[in-house]
Amino acid sequence: MNEDLNMLEQTALNDYKYGFVTDIDTDIIPKGLNEAVVELISKKKNEPEWMLNWRLKAYAHWLKLEEPKWPNVKYPPINYQDIIYYAAPKKKEQLNSLNEVDPELLRTFEKLGISLNEQKRLTGVAVDVVMDSVSIATSFKEQLSEIGVIFCSISEAIQKHPDLVKKHLGSVVPMTDNYFAALNSAVFTDGSFCYIPKGVRCPMELSTYFRINAENSGQFERTLIIAEEESYVSYLEGCTAPMRDENQLHAAVVELVAMKKAEIKYSTVQNWYPGDKDGNGGIYNFVTKRGMCQGEHSKISWTQVETGSAITWKYPSVILKGDHSIGEFYSVAFTNHHQQADTGTKMIHLGKNTRSRIVSKGISAGQSQNSYRGLVRASKGATNARNYSQCDSLLLGDKCGAHTFPYIEVKNKTAIVEHEATTSKIGEDQLFYCRQRGIDAETAVAMIVNGFAKEVMNQLPMEFAIEAQKLLAISMEGSVG
């Protein structure tokens, strides 16, 4: 508890800790989006023709779509011509080791607390760092490649493993899926690619750190993870952005493919800049994440801690296609000040004996709005499908809102689906109990909130769990009393 206390004191000013701009030469293209820009991005990345065609097709489709209006969030219209679609830290040549990375850049990550060197030496986590749009360096690549694991940036994968990319890219989230997925398919600039071969249990946690640095740039990263038969991988994703007055768009697509008996665990700690106290600036985090349990007995588990972003709008989903497959979704979404979150999941049961579990904890403070929106569908063929969902909301303050929109669609007589949701504020008696024992109000609330979110936090890998807990405390600062 002491550590939490100190941290709250340290951050008493309630500033966004990660709000600094790194002074690095950035290779950027002019604002705006048209076919030429798509071609330029593709050319800059030296992509093969099929990739370019794919992008152009997605762009053509995007033009036909309209921006969706159904989420429970409000924001001024986005001008898609006012965004820079490609911003890469300038580099002269392909980097071979960390030593070649721009020292300024390394300092950025040190400030972020994820020094590559540190991580490499102490924690044994392989990190693929994506700054603005381009993957900077990937650590531990060699060790991983020895056991056949491919972990690299998606642009590198397009060059080196075109067959794998061609086969799986867009197989889970087709380019026609939705407005932002189509946009991403057209202009995505980088992201991570991960391939775990048959029977391999990835020995370390794979991790990506996203950071939006350049002004007015959108980040459109694309992540593709393929777990072959009987393999296992745990993947971590963290996000931050510097403080800016303007709103920045982040429209990523994440695709997971799990084959027979494979397991993918995907954890996110999202801490994009949420805007200031009055709701100026911040990131629009419009993300499409979806996993496909392709083979029997496969398992995909999403864990997310969402504390940042002016607007979060994402629904990490699982398509349970293989028989006996399992989908899980654990989420903590914390909103403060003027933040808005509309997040949840979709569990689509197609195969027999498929199971899914949803645990969502929403905490709203300040004048924020926090919504859970989820779909559980048991189709005709999903014999013995089983789902349990639980969504709890906690309200801190009388100007915030908490909303629940679950959709349940059952077409099978053997399916069992349960959903329960509660909304309440912190009990006076709980607070009284803590205060009586000499714990001040703020700490008491932090304790109670941590307890509230524990079920989800426990799902995170160790390194992330600590960070997530700190983030939660920082985000909460100033919301009590």
Binding site: T404, P406, Y407, V410, K411, V417, H419, T422, T423, K425
Partner: protein, 434 residues
């Protein structure tokens, strides 16, 4: 002639038939909205799971010949306890005083047509409250009812009158000659310290299609007590959109039960507007679906003032190729502190052709609240089944027993005994015939 042209034609005729009043104004507004929005399609979030626009592929007509329905037709459909009840008859969407029987004293129960009410001492009441439901129900089908308000029903229970005789409303659609569209409209006031027990039921005569598009608005004042029962047990050719809008403007108590057994496509909108501190409201629903029935229950509880309590329990069974839909929405407005709102929806699915779609929603803008919702979709308990089978009870009988027990939770919420027994029988019959 297409339905839309027919509506336009009929609307103009209706508007020209009498002098301009508050009602003609309301109709014009309604028809404007209808022209703008058209019939709701599944693309509207509120109509995602229920498609009524396809029903209008057929041509419907308003049937104006009320004479065709005789008192003998009514005898066949009477609800238990009618001997004590005030029986009000709607034929093809119009209130027919000549067929109705009023058993309470005129000091206890005031019954008029909407047009009459608009002329007398209640005109201000009617002007203020008629059409309030369109604030919440903005779709074209609701507007269509408003466009054709004619021979609507006005009920007022005066201050302090604890009405002991219930009010039964029978809606009769005559589909013996043609496809019939009926659009009943009612406005009910329950004044301070008054009490009303209201039951509605629906019958279609003949084998052509009938579509009933009903709007019922109820205003409940301080210390009033309202029980509302809706029984839907009509043919597969009878479809319905029924909107019940209950506005609790004083601290009051409302208890509703909606039972849907047979029918074509049924959509029930039930709105409870808790517009005074300390309101209490209970919503119960039961849908036992067979064949191709499609029943969609939409409830809305809008907590606008502090210290309100609401409790909802909807239970359903979907067999054969039927579809059950539940969408419950609880809104807690910023001022509605200390709200307690509970909602529960339970479903049993008996066949692979059946579908259950459920969407319980909470929208909460106040912090000092206790709200919860839960919903389940499952099957009959295997162990309970085994217990019964082991004691020599055949499978079908055991199933009926278990389903009856399942329905009993809602059945007991029907407070008047004759009505409860009547519905219990209907349920038993309905479950036994497979």
């Amino acid at each position: 002639m297409t339905n839309v042209n027919y509506f336009k034609d009929q609307f103009e005729q209706l508007q020209d038939s009498g002098p301009a009043t508050a009602i003609t104004e309301l109709r014009t507004d309604g028809f404007d909205t209808f022209n703008k929005s058209g019939l709701p399609t599944y693309k509207l979030e509120e109509w995602k799971y229920t498609n009524i626009s396809s029903l209008f592929d057929k041509e419907y007509q308003f049937a104006n010949d009320a004479q065709a329905v005789q008192l003998s037709d009514i005898d066949a459909i009477r609800l238990a306890g009618y001997e004590q009840a005030n029986e009000l008859i709607f034929v093809n969407g119009r209130f027919i005083p000549a067929l109705s029987t009023i058993r309470s004293a005129a000091s206890q129960l005031i019954i008029l047509t909407l047009e009459e009410a608009l002329k007398g001492e209640y005109q201000e009441l009617v002007k203020t409250h008629l059409g309030q439901s369109s604030i919440y129900l903005k779709d074209g089908i609701h507007a269509l009812n408003t466009s054709f308000i004619q021979d609507g029903l006005f009920i007022l229970i005066p201050k302090g009158q604890q009405l002991t005789q219930p009010v039964y409303i029978y809606h009769i659609a005559d589909a013996r000659q043609q496809n019939t569209l009926s659009q009943p409209r009612s406005l009910i006031f329950v004044e301070e310290n008054a009490k009303l027990q209201l039951t509605e039921t629906y019958t279609t005569l003949g084998t052509a299609e009938s579509f009933t598009n009903e709007v019922l608005e109820v205003v409940v004042k301080e210390n009033a007590f309202v029980e509302y029962y809706k029984i839907q047990h009509d043919g597969l050719n009878a479809s319905q959109v029924g909107s019940t809008h209950i506005h609790q403007i004083g601290r009051s108590y409302v208890h509703t039960v909606v039972v849907s057994l047979n029918g074509g496509v049924i959509r029930n909108n039930l709105n409870l507007i808790l517009d005074a501190a300390g309101n209490e409201t209970h919503l119960y629903g039961l849908y036992l679906l067979k064949g191709k029935s499609h029943v969609d229950n939409h409830t809305l509880v809008d907590n606008k003032q502090p210290n309100c309590f609401s409790n909802q329990l909807y239970k359903g069974i979907a067999g054969d190729a039927s579809t059950g839909v539940f969408s419950g929405r609880i809104i807690v407005q910023p001022d509605a502190q200390k709200t307690n709102a509970y909602q529960s929806n339970k479903n049993i699915i008996l066949s692979d052709q059946a579908t259950i779609n459920t969407k319980p929603q909470l929208e909460i803008f106040a912090d000092d609240v206790k709200c919860s919702h839960g919903c389940t979709v499952g099957q009959l308990d295997e162990e309970a089944m085994f217990y019964l089978r082991a004691r020599g009870i055949p499978k079908e009988a055991a199933e009926v027993l278990l389903l009856e027990a399942y329905a009993a939770d809602i059945l007991v919420q029907i407070k008047p005994e004759p009505l409860r027994n009547h519905i219990a029988e209907l349920i038993y019959e309905h479950l036994s015939i497979s």
